[in-house]
C-alpha cells in the first residue's frame, strides 16, 4: 500500500486492511465490523437483503462483471416444508487468485480476513446457504492461516455455527486450499475441484445457482465482490452508488505491475482512467523506459496502447475500446521488452493451465506456443502470422467449452494488431531485437557465413 488513504468512506474495502497484523475480532468490531451482518440478519428478511444488493448495482469483481444481485436471484428459494427443497445450499468464495498480474484479493484476504467472513455471512443468509467454502489459492499460506484464525474467532463469538447471534440462521464456513490450477477460477471447475473431481468446467445449464456443489444450489462469488457487502448493508445503496457517481457503482481495487515506478494496489472509485492509475498512482514508467501498451485486467485481456489511456476503467468503457476490465490489474509493457516474448510467455502459461477438456484449448494453445516460440527464436515464417490469426479465431468465444482459451487468445490477437511490426521484424531479421545476445549470435553466424562463402569462393577461384 503505497498511498495513504485519506477518505476512508470512499475506500470501504481497504479501510480495515492491515497487512502486518490484521484486526482481531474485537478490534474489527470496534472499527465498525459485523455491523453490516447484524443489520442483514436481525433487521431484514433474506429477500430484502437480495433487493438491497440488486439495487446497489454491485457487479462481480472477478472479471466478468455480472450483476451480483441478479446472480443470486437465480437461486431457487423454498418455503418451509417444501418437498422439492434441497437439504442444503452452498456459498463459495472464489479466492483462487491465479490470474497473472493480479493480486488484489490477496490484499483483502491477508489484510482483513474478518471482512470476508462477515461478507460471507451476509451472502449465505441471503441465499439460504448453511455451508460455505473459501476456495483459496494453495500458495496463499498466510491468507489461509489468517482466515482460519478469523473463522475460529467468529465461531467463538457466535458469528458462525448454529443460531448465529440468536437468530435462526446457521452457517458453517470452511477454508479449502486449492491444489493449484488456473482453471479453478472458473466457477464450475472450482466446484468440481471442491468435490474432489478433476477441475474441468461443467456443462451449463444447469448453472450452479440451480445445481452446483454436490448437485445443490450454489453461489460462487469473487472475494472482492463479497467484501463490498458489509459496507452496502451498513451504509446503504445511495452511499454505495455515490462513491462513483459517473460509473458502475462502488469502488474497485486497481493494480499495476511491470516496469512502472511504483507498482501496487489502490482502491479508487470505479471508473478511474487508465492514465490516472498508470501515472498518478503507479508513478509512470521507470526512468529510461517508454510506455508501449498494457493489459488492463490481468493476462487474459486484450492489449491497450497509448491512444486508450484516457478510457475510464469500468466494464463498459474498457469493452468499448476492445478489451476487458477483468480484474483491474494492469500489466504494463515498456519499449525495452519484447512483445512477442511477452505473448509467448503468457501463452505458455495458458497452454500449461488448459484443463485438457476441449480440443481448441487443449491442442490450440500449445500450437500457438510452438509458432510463437519459432518466431521469437528467429525461425518464423510470414505464413506463421496467418496461422496465429487462424488460431486466434479457432479458440474464440463460442468455439470453446469455457472462457480460458478465448482469454488466452486476447493478448495474442491484440498483440498481432498493435505490435505487428515487431512480429514482422522477428521473422524478416531472424532474431529478436530486444535480446542483445540473440542479435550478437545472429551477427556471428552471419559473419561466419560470409567468411565461409569467401573462403569457398577463393578456393574455387584457386582451381
Amino acid at each position: 500500500m503505497s498511498e495513504q488513504i485519506n477518505n476512508n468512506d470512499l475506500k470501504p474495502l481497504t479501510q480495515w486492511v492491515n497487512l502486518q497484523q490484521p484486526l482481531a475480532f474485537d478490534d474489527y468490531c470496534q472499527a465498525g465490523g459485523y455491523q453490516g451482518a447484524k443489520i442483514a440478519l436481525l433487521q431484514h428478511q433474506p429477500n430484502e437483503v437480495l433487493e438491497i444488493v440488486k439495487n446497489s448495482g454491485l457487479k462481480g469483481r472477478g472479471g466478468a462483471g455480472f450483476p451480483t444481485g441478479m446472480k443470486w436471484s437465480f437461486v431457487p428459494m423454498f418455503a418451509e416444508g417444501d418437498e422439492d427443497a434441497p437439504d442444503n445450499k452452498y456459498l463459495v468464495a472464489n479466492a483462487d487468485e491465479m490470474e497473472p498480474g493480479t493480486f488484489k484479493d490477496r490484499l483483502l484476504l491477508e489484510g482483513a480476513p474478518h471482512q470476508l467472513v462477515e461478507a460471507m455471512i451476509i451472502a449465505a443468509y441471503t441465499i439460504g446457504a448453511n455451508k460455505a467454502y473459501i476456495f483459496l489459492r494453495g500458495e496463499y499460506h498466510l491468507a489461509a492461516k489468517r482466515l482460519q484464525q478469523a473463522i475460529g474467532e467468529a465461531y467463538q463469538n457466535h458469528w458462525l455455527g448454529g443460531n448465529i447471534q440468536a437468530s435462526k440462521f446457521c452457517l458453517d464456513l470452511y477454508v479449502h486450499t486449492s491444489a493449484g490450477r488456473y482453471i479453478c477460477g472458473e466457477e464450475t471447475a472450482l466446484i468440481n475441484a471442491l468435490e474432489g473431481k478433476r477441475a474441468n468446467p461443467r456443462a451449463k445449464p444447469p448453472f450452479p445457482q440451480v445445481s452446483g456443489l454436490f448437485g445443490k444450489p450454489t453461489i460462487v462469488n469473487n472475494v472482492e465482490t463479497l467484501c463490498n457487502l458489509p459496507h452496502i448493508l451498513k451504509n446503504g445503496i445511495e452511499w454505495f452508488q455515490g462513491i462513483a457517481p459517473n460509473s458502475d457503482a462502488g469502488s474497485k481495487i486497481y493494480g499495476a505491475c511491470g516496469r512502472v515506478k511504483n507498482p501496487g494496489l489502490w482502491e479508487l472509485p470505479m471508473g478511474a482512467t487508465l492514465r490516472e492509475v498508470l501515472y498518478q498512482h503507479a508513478g509512470g514508467m521507470q526512468d529510461g523506459l517508454q510506455f508501449r501498451g498494457l493489459l488492463p485486467g490481468g493476462a487474459s485481456t486484450d492489449f491497450l496502447v497509448a491512444e486508450h489511456l484516457d478510457t475510464p476503467m469500468d466494464y463498459d468503457s474498457i469493452a468499448k475500446v476492445g478489451s476487458r476490465l477483468g480484474t483491474g490489474g494492469l500489466i504494463v509493457l515498456d519499449d525495452k521488452n519484447c512483445p512477442v516474448a511477452m505473448v509467448l510467455n503468457l501463452l505458455r502459461f495458458f497452454a500449461q493451465e488448459s484443463c485438457g477438456w476441449c480440443t481448441p484449448c487443449r491442442d490450440g494453445t500449445p500450437w500457438a506456443v510452438e509458432v510463437l516460440a519459432r518466431i521469437e527464436h528467429g525461425q518464423g515464417k510470414k505464413e506463421d502470422l496467418d496461422t496465429l490469426e487462424k488460431l486466434c479465431d479457432f479458440m474464440w468465444i463460442g468455439k470453446t467449452y469455457c472462457a480460458l482459451a478465448p482469454g488466452a487468445v486476447e493478448p495474442l490477437r491484440s498483440a498481432l494488431k498493435y505490435f505487428h511490426d515487431d512480429f514482422l521484424q522477428h521473422i524478416e531479421h531472424g532474431c529478436c531485437h530486444y535480446d542483445p545476445a540473440s542479435i550478437a549470435k545472429r551477427t556471428k553466424i552471419a559473419q561466419s557465413h560470409i567468411q565461409h562463402n569467401n573462403a569457398a569462393n577463393s578456393s574455387m577461384a584457386g582451381q
Partner: protein, 994 residues
C-alpha cells in the same frame, strides 16, 4: 424414442427430426454427414471435442449465424442450421488439425486401420495437409491384461473411454490422469482391466488407443474379414454379434447392433470367449467311424456304422448350448419319452418352475430394463452370469437422476449435466443374494443369506403385501413385527423387506430378476407366489419378471420339454432297468458337467453304444464309442432362444473343414438310418418316413414343418419368409480372395456356394445394410462400427431393415408330470432343516459366479485362463474371530461334510481370506469350487497356512497360468501355419457336398 417430430431446416432443406434428442442425433438420423468424437448415441453429449460445430440462424433473414455444437443443442421446431457454412466447416477442419498435432500417424501398423473413426472423420472434414511443425507429445503405454491393448500416443482425448468405463459401466480401476495436452487414459498402474465390459473400449475408442489384443496377434484388416451375423453362445441374453473370419479361423467378435438387446455394447465373455472355436480342445475327426476313401469321410461311411442301429431305441440327451433345430431333431428322432435335457432331478424341478413363470410373465428386453425405476435381484449374480443385462440394470438406476434433471428442463442426453444434477442419486436396486456382486456398489440395500434362507424374505414380503391394505408405512413395520414373531425373521431381514416394500410401492415400472443356476425350485415357487400376490394388489404396480437361465439356448430347450422328458437320474435308472430296450445314448453337445464320476461310470457301463456329438473334448468324448465333430457357433446355422423366448438365427461365418458339420446335419445323417420315432408326426405320414437328406437349414425347416406337429407352433412365422436377395459376407474391398490359393495353384478358386442362408461367401451381393441381419456395419464414408447410425430409423432406434422379433411359446408341460412338482411338505421341511442347521452352526459355502469360467465353451479360451485369479474366500467377522485370522492372510481351510447320509468327506483348500461384515455366520463364499459331495451343509476349519503350503499352492497356480500362456502360443502358431494352406469348400453343406 418417441414420435415427437418437428421440422428443422438444414442448409435450407426441411427435415423431420425428433425433438427429444439433440441436433447431432437429428442430423445423423437423416443420414447427413457431420463428424463427431465425444458424443456417443448411448452415452449422450458432453461437448468436449467441438467437432460437430454447425451454424445456427435466428430466422430466414439471419445471415451471420452463431456457431453451436450440434451435440449440445436441442432440436426446436423450425430451427435453421447450416452444416455446409464456410465458418463451420473450416472450424471442423481445424479441430481435426489440432487433434492431429499429436497423433502418431502410424496407421499402417495400427489395428484400427481401415475401420478408424478418426480416419473417417478426418476425411469427412477435408483436413489433409499438416501445418503443425512442432514435436509430438508421447506417452508410456500400459499392460491392461490379455484382452485389450493400449497405445496412448494415438489418443485424441475425446474422453469416451472413461465415460464408458467409469460412468457407464461403473468400472473403478480406470481413469483420467494429467491435464493440458498431456491427458492420460489408463489405470493407476499396469494390470488387467477389472471391468466385465473392458472390450467395449475397442469400439468406443474412435481410434487405436484401445485395441482388441487377441485380434491384433492374428490380425487382418476389416476389409479382408469375412463376416456373418451371429448370436452369442455364452449366456442367455442373446446379444447379437458380428463374427469375423479369415482363412478358416475366427479372428474377432464385434458388436452387432440390436435395439432391443445389446445396443452398442457386449460383455467380455461375448467378445473374447469366441476363442474356443480356434482352441486346441476342438474335435476335428470322427471316432468310431472308419473312412473308406482317402479323400474324405462320406455319408456311406456313416451309414455303414449306423446301419446296425436301424429302428433301435436310443435315449437322446439334448443340451442348452445346442441349437433349437438340433435339440428338436434329437427329441423327435428318439421320441419324446426317450428325450432328456441333461438335467438332474433338482434341475428338472427348477426347469418346471421356470417354464411356469415364463408362461405367465413376459420378460422385458434389455432396452425395457433400462426404463425400470425399481429393480430387485434375487439369488443371481447377473454381473457374471448375464453381464450385458447387469449393464442395462446400471443404466436403469440412472432414471432417478434423469427424472430430477427433467424437472429443471435438462434432457436426458445432456450426459454431464444430468450427472451433475443427479450426483449420487440412483433408482432403488435391492440385492438378495448369497455372494457379493459387482452391482453391490449401486445397490440401495444388499442382504447376504445362505441360499436356503433367501426364501424367508420373499415369503415375508408376500405376507406383508397381503397384510397391509393401504399405503401406510406404519402398518408395514407393524405387519413385519407380526410376521417376525411367527417365523424366524431377523432384524436385518425385517429392515430389508420393509425398505423393499416401501420402494416397490412407489415404483412405476418395477422389475424383479432371478436366475435358475443357483436358485432352488422352492425359491422360484416363492417368486411365483409373490408375483401372484403382486398381481392382485391394486396399489402396487405389477413388476415385470426375468428369470436368467445359464445358457444361450436354455429357453429353447425348455420349450421342447414336456411331461415325458427324462432327468439324468431317470436316464441312468432306465438304462439299468431296461438294458435290452435301449441300443444306447446320444449326447448332443452335452458334457453333463454335474454328473459325478461314479455316475459317469454308471452311464458308460449300462449303455451299449455311447454316441457323442460335440465340438470340444470332455470326459465323455474320451469314453464314447462314436464321436461326431460338430460345428461351433461360427461354423453353422441355427437358432438360439434367449431368456425372453426370442428366437434368433445365427449364420455360418465360414464353412468348417469336414467332417465337422452342424449337429443337425449329423442327426439328419443318422435319422436317415435310425428313423424318426416322433409320436407327433402329422397324420398320414409314416413313422420313420425320413427319406431324403436335408441339404440346408431351409430344407430342414421345411421337413420339420411338413412332418412334425410341434414345429409350426415353435417357429411358424419363420416359414413365411420368402427368398431374400443375397447379401455379401465380404466387404466390397476384400482383397486377395482371388490370390488365396496362389501358393498352391494360380487358378482362381471357386467361391463356396451358400445353401443355408441368404449370405454369400464372396463380396458379391447386396450391401450389408440392405439385410435385416447385417454381417458387418459399413457405409460410404463410415468404415467403423459407428456407421450404424446410417442404418437406424433414428438414433438408438430400430434398424430400418429390422425384421419383427420371433418369440417362441413356452408351454408349462413339465408340471403335468407330478414328479417335477414341489411337494408342499418338502418345502416346509427344507425350511425346518434350515433352521435346524442354524442351530447346529453348520456352514454353507457358495462359489461366486465368474464371467470367464462359468460358461463351458468360453472357459476354453486361453486368454481367459490367463486371467484365473488365485483363491480368495470371504468369511464373516465372527468366523474370522473364531479362527483368529485376518484379512489378506493365506489360510488352510478344511471343509468337511456334516450330513450323515454321505460318507465323511473332507477337502482342504489354500486360500486368501477376506472379511465381509455383512455375511451371516453360516455363510461363506469364494472363487473356488468344492467337490460336489461337499455341496450341502459343511463344517469349516481355518488355520494359517504354513510357508510350504503357500509356496506349493502358488507354484501350482503359476503353472496353470504358464500352461495357459503356452497353449495360447501353440494355438497362434497352428493358426498361422493354417493360414498358408487355406481350406476351400465349394459348398457350405455337410458330408458329400459337391
Amino acid at each position: 424414442m418417441s414420435e415427437n417430430k418437428v421440422t428443422i431446416f438444414i442448409d435450407d432443406v426441411p427435415y423431420q427430426v425428433s425433438s427429444e434428442d439433440n441436433l447431432l442425433a437429428g442430423v445423423l438420423s437423416k443420414k447427413l454427414n457431420l463428424p463427431y468424437f465425444c458424443w456417443h448415441p448411448s452415452m449422450g453429449s458432453v461437448g468436449a471435442c467441438r467437432q460437430c460445430a454447425v451454424m445456427q440462424f435466428q430466422d430466414k433473414d439471419d445471415n451471420r449465424g452463431r456457431m453451436v455444437m450440434a451435440c449440445t443443442t436441442p432440436v426446436t421446431d423450425g430451427m435453421r442450421i447450416s452444416i455446409k457454412h464456410a465458418d463451420a466447416s473450416e472450424f471442423r477442419e481445424q479441430v481435426i488439425a489440432a487433434m492431429m498435432t499429436n497423433h502418431p500417424h502410424d496407421c499402417p501398423v495400427c489395428t484400427e486401420g481401415g475401420e478408424c473413426h478418426l480416419q473417417d472423420m478426418t476425411v469427412m472434414t477435408g483436413h489433409s495437409v499438416r501445418e503443425y511443425q512442432g514435436t509430438k507429445r508421447t506417452f508410456t503405454n500400459q499392460y491392461l491384461g490379455e484382452l485389450v491393448g493400449h497405445e496412448m500416443n494415438r489418443c485424441i482425448t475425446c474422453y469416451r473411454c472413461t465415460r464408458f468405463y467409469n460412468d457407464y459401466a461403473g468400472g473403478k480401476d480406470f481413469g483420467v490422469y494429467g491435464s493440458k495436452n498431456q491427458v492420460y487414459f489408463g489405470r493407476q498402474t499396469d494390470g488387467a482391466l477389472e471391468s466385465e465390459f473392458s472390450g467395449n473400449l475397442v469400439e468406443v475408442c474412435p481410434t487405436g488407443v484401445f485395441t482388441n489384443k487377441v485380434f491384433s496377434t492374428h490380425y487382418t484388416r476389416k476389409w479382408d474379414l469375412q463376416s456373418a451375423p451371429s448370436v452369442c453362445s455364452h449366456c442367455s441374453v442373446g446379444c447379437n454379434l458380428s463374427i469375423g473370419e479369415r482363412y478358416g479361423s475366427v479372428r474377432r467378435v464385434m458388436n452387432r447392433y440390436n435395439a432391443d438387446i445389446n445396443g452398442y455394447f457386449l460383455c467380455d465373455r461375448g467378445r473374447f470367449g469366441i476363442g474356443f472355436v480356434n482352441g486346441e480342445q476342438r474335435i476335428r475327426k470322427t471316432k468310431g467311424i472308419s473312412q473308406q476313401s482317402p479323400v474324405a469321410l462320406t455319408k456311406l461311411d456313416v451309414a455303414k456304422v449306423f446301419s446296425h442301429f436301424s429302428k433301435k431305441n436310443f435315449i437322446g440327451i439334448g443340451s442348452a448350448r445346442a441349437s433349437l433345430e438340433a435339440n428338436f431333431y434329437l427329441k423327435n428322432m428318439v421320441g419324446a419319452e426317450h428325450f432328456s435335457p441333461g438335467y438332474n432331478d433338482d434341475e428338472m424341478k427348477v426347469a418346471a418352475q421356470h417354464a411356469q413363470l415364463l408362461a405367465a410373465n413376459n420378460p422385458p428386453s434389455l432396452t425395457a430394463i433400462e426404463h425400470s425405476d425399481f429393480i430387485f435381484i434375487i439369488a443371481e449374480d447377473i454381473s457374471q452370469t448375464a453381464p450385458r443385462m447387469a449393464l442395462s440394470v446400471r443404466q436403469a438406476l440412472r432414471n432417478a437422476a434423469k427424472a430430477k434433471a427433467a424437472k429443471i428442463g435438462i434432457p436426458s442426453w445432456q450426459d454431464s449435466a444430468v450427472r451433475t444434477i443427479g450426483g449420487n442419486l440412483l433408482s432403488p436396486l435391492f440385492l438378495l443374494q448369497s455372494t457379493s456382486s459387482k452391482l453391490d456398489d449401486v445397490a440401495e440395500q444388499t442382504l447376504l443369506l445362505p441360499p436356503e434362507q433367501l426364501s424367508t424374505c420373499l415369503v415375508a414380503l408376500k405376507a406383508v403385501l397381503e397384510l397391509v391394505e393401504v399405503n401406510n408405512n406404519h402398518n408395514v413395520e407393524q405387519a413385519l413385527t407380526d410376521i417376525a414373531e411367527q417365523t424366524s425373521l431377523g432384524s436385518k431381514e425385517r429392515q430389508f423387506v420393509c425398505s423393499l416394500y416401501k420402494a416397490l410401492h412407489q415404483a412405476k415400472q418395477p422389475l424383479i430378476i432371478s436366475g435358475t443356476d443357483h436358485v432352488s425350485a422352492e425359491t422360484l415357487q416363492d417368486i411365483n407366489n409373490l408375483m401372484q400376490a403382486l398381481k392382485s394388489k391394486s396399489d402396487v404396480t405389477e413388476p415385470a419378471l426375468i428369470v436368467v437361465p445359464p445358457s444361450c439356448n436354455s429357453v429353447g430347450l425348455l420349450a421342447l420339454l414336456d411331461e415325458k422328458s427324462l432327468s439324468v437320474e431317470q436316464v441312468l435308472s432306465g438304462l439299468e432297468q431296461q438294458e435290452g430296450n435301449y441300443q444306447g445314448v446320444i449326447l448332443l453337445e452335452q458334457e453333463l458337467a454335474r454328473l459325478s464320476d461314479s455316475q459317469v461310470k454308471q452311464l458308460r457301463s449300462s449303455c451299449q453304444t455311447l454316441i457323442v456329438l460335440d465340438h470340444s473334448q470332455h470326459r465323455l468324448t474320451s469314453i464314447a464309442d462314436i464321436v461326431l465333430p460338430v460345428a461351433a457357433v461360427s461354423e453353422g446355422d441355427g437358432h438360439y432362444v434367449n431368456y425372453q423366448g426370442r428366437a434368433q438365427q445365427f449364420f455360418q461365418v465360414h464353412a468348417p473343414v469336414l467332417p465337422i458339420q452342424e449337429s443337425w446335419r449329423w442327426l439328419d445323417n443318422m435319422a436317415e438310418i435310425i428313423g424318426v420315432h416322433a409320436a407327433e408326426l402329422h397324420a398320414g405320414t409314416n413313422e420313420g418316413a425320413k427319406k431324403s437328406a436335408c441339404e440346408s437349414l431351409r430344407q430342414l425347416h421345411q421337413y420339420f414343418a411338413d412332418f412334425l406337429k410341434q414345429w409350426p407352433t415353435l417357429l411358424a412365422s419363420k416359414q413365411a419368409g420368402t427368398q431374400q436377395a443375397a447379401t455379401a459376407r465380404m466387404p466390397h474391398r476384400a482383397s486377395g480372395r482371388t490370390a488365396q490359393m496362389a501358393n498352391i495353384s494360380v487358378h482362381e478358386a471357386k467361391t463356396t456356394q451358400k445353401i443355408d442362408d441368404s449370405l454369400t461367401f464372396s463380396m458379391e451381393g447386396q450391401s450389408a445394410g440392405q439385410s435385416s441381419d447385417m454381417p458387418f456395419a459399413w457405409a460410404p464414408g463410415w468404415n467403423s462400427n459407428q456407421s450404424i447410425s446410417q442404418f437406424q430409423a433414428q438414433i438408438n432406434g430400430q434398424l430400418i431393415k429390422q425384421k419383427a422379433a420371433i418369440f417362441i411359446p413356452v408351454a408349462n408341460l413339465l408340471l403335468n408330470n407330478p414328479r417335477w412338482e414341489i411337494a408342499k411338505q418338502s418345502h416346509k421341511v427344507s425350511q425346518a432343516n434350515a433352521s435346524d442347521h442354524q442351530t447346529l452352526k453348520s456352514l454353507r459355502y457358495v462359489q461366486q459366479a465368474n464371467i470367464y469360467f462359468d460358461e463351458w465353451q468360453a472357459a476354453h479360451t486361453a486368454e481367459f485362463k490367463m486371467l484365473q485369479p488365485s483363491n480368495l474366500m470371504s468369511i464373516s467377522t465372527s468366523t474370522a474371530e473364531q479362527f483368529g485370522v485376518k484379512k489378506g492372510q493365506w489360510c488352510k481351510i478344511i471343509f468337511s461334510a456334516t450330513n450323515d447320509k454321505i460318507p465323511l468327506v473332507s477337502q482342504s483348500i489354500i486360500s486368501q481370506i477376506t472379511i465381509n461384515k455383512q455375511l451371516p455366520e453360516t455363510l461363506a463364499f469364494g472363487n473356488f469350487s468344492l467337490s460336489q459331495l461337499l455341496s450341502q451343509q459343511l463344517e469349516m476349519e481355518i488355520s494359517l497356512a504354513c510357508d510350504q503350503e503357500i509356496t506349493d499352492y502358488l507354484s501350482h497356480y503359476n503353472d496353470g497360468l504358464i500352461s495357459a500362456k503356452l497353449s495360447k502360443g501353440a494355438v497362434l502358431e497352428r493358426l498361422k501355419i493354417n493360414d498358408q494352406t487355406i481350406p476351400i469348400r465349394l459348398v457350405s453343406g455337410g458330408l458329400d457336398d459337391a
